[in-house]
Amino acid sequence: MKLIAGPALALLFSTTSVLAAGDGTCAKGKTLTEGNLTIATGNPAYYPWVMNDAPESGEGFEAAVAYAIAEKMGFGQDNVTWVRTSFDEAIQPGAKNFDFNMQQYSITPEREEMVDFSLPYYTSAMAVLTTQNVVDAGAEATLDGLKDLKWGAVATTTAIPMLKDVIQPSSEPLLYNDNADVNAAIMAGQIDAAIYDLPTALYLSAVVVENGALLGQFPAGQSESPDQFGVLMEDGNALKECVNAAITELTESGELAAIETQWLSEATGVPVIE
């Protein structure tokens, strides 16, 4: 059985791969413009997901994954168009201006009722961004130590259930529109710490937040429902199976892991919060 199954699977695999990569039959007639794939990202798109806010370069984790998925679906680099959307535009009913949307959307069952997600392309740890002053003042990377900090987060992220359910801070967290506002609040001393996905937190602490520091991370494996990023599509989008096939292929061939290593390698070495 095994003997048969192995080659059969391999055959099946190569067929899909041929189908997907070869002439793009899976995606045929399913994209906004024939022969072209329109991908949405944030405005602006942040490091390390997209380098220099220029997804066309293919640099940055999500930009690289997007081109890899596109290639597996049969779209060459020249056949990919980028558009920008906010979160609200991504979930609003009605015609979309993108085939799929990549901006660190966490897959949740509630969201899946309204939109479609692909298989996950990244499983993120959550991390605590703070400043050196707070660390010096004695903040500890333990759950008990975190409770008494003044917390902030971006209101449209899955960091909020994380805050409410895991950290359960003693004072009401303050919530903001975007990363920039959270950083402003940290620098103004209005909040001690904020929750981000680990790569974003790393970038912010190193580059954006003056005197920024990472207190620790909640590793993805530790959580019952880890934060997994998926490609967002309109509910019932026929393209979903093609995207999923592409992601499966990338995962199993190890290409996805290679991209992750290339762009998100610094994410290791951050102390784990017990």
Partner: protein, 286 residues
Amino acid sequence: MEETSLQKDSVEHSAATPTRREVYEAEVRRRSNRIALISVVSVTLAIFVLVPLAPGWEAVQRSFFNGRVFAETFPGLLEAFLMNVMIFAWSAPLIAITGLVIALCRDTRAPALFPLRLFGIAYTDIFRGLPVVLVIYIIGFGVPGLGLPRPWNSPYIWGTLALVLVYSAYVAEVIRSGIDSIHQSQRSAAASLGLSDQDTMRYVVLPQAIRNVVPANMNLFIALQKDVALLSFIGPVEIFRQAGVYKSLYANFTPYVGAALIFLALTIPATRYADYLMNKQNRART
């Protein structure tokens, strides 16, 4: 011929039966009621029958009028609305007092107080000229950024200050228009009795001015109740922000509709009441 005889008839019975004019007006009334009814029914039908026929209706309904999401988020929204009420409750008196002080600054006539007057003018010009949200951002993040220690860098304090600055500028202008609306003869009467300028303002002009502008100020405070939501930009989780959080969690806009309903439940009665006061005042004037 027939008509004339009919008229005669009704004239003869005029004590008990309606007059010609009453008959005519009753007919006009009946006709306008009929037209109003038909038009209301047809517009309602159009909304409730035609809109759902639109191809995207199902998607819109799922995103904006989702019963399940509504039921799950509404209690949380109500709770968050308490934050709006609280911010409003402490902002409104501060705004009223500041607005009055600024209005009085603008009305000073003594040359020694000219800087005060200049200040009043600059204040109202600047803060009426800026979007509320901009002032909230600049003050809410800017002032604490100077390095104030907690709790003095709280977004509640500085956000409230931003609201007070902007809204007191409007209130000041409304009060000033009220002061201007008091006829010069009232000041003359007070002066002829030997009252000082301050006493004239305090006992004669202001009480009347403020009463005159109650409806206009009510409208401002209704607007304030809505703008309290802008404080969410600098951190506080009030109803608008809470709705945004739910929107993100459920990828659904229904929480915004829930928040809108909560706002309306408060602002519609308040607006009706302000209009009622305004009409009453207009009637009293004529």
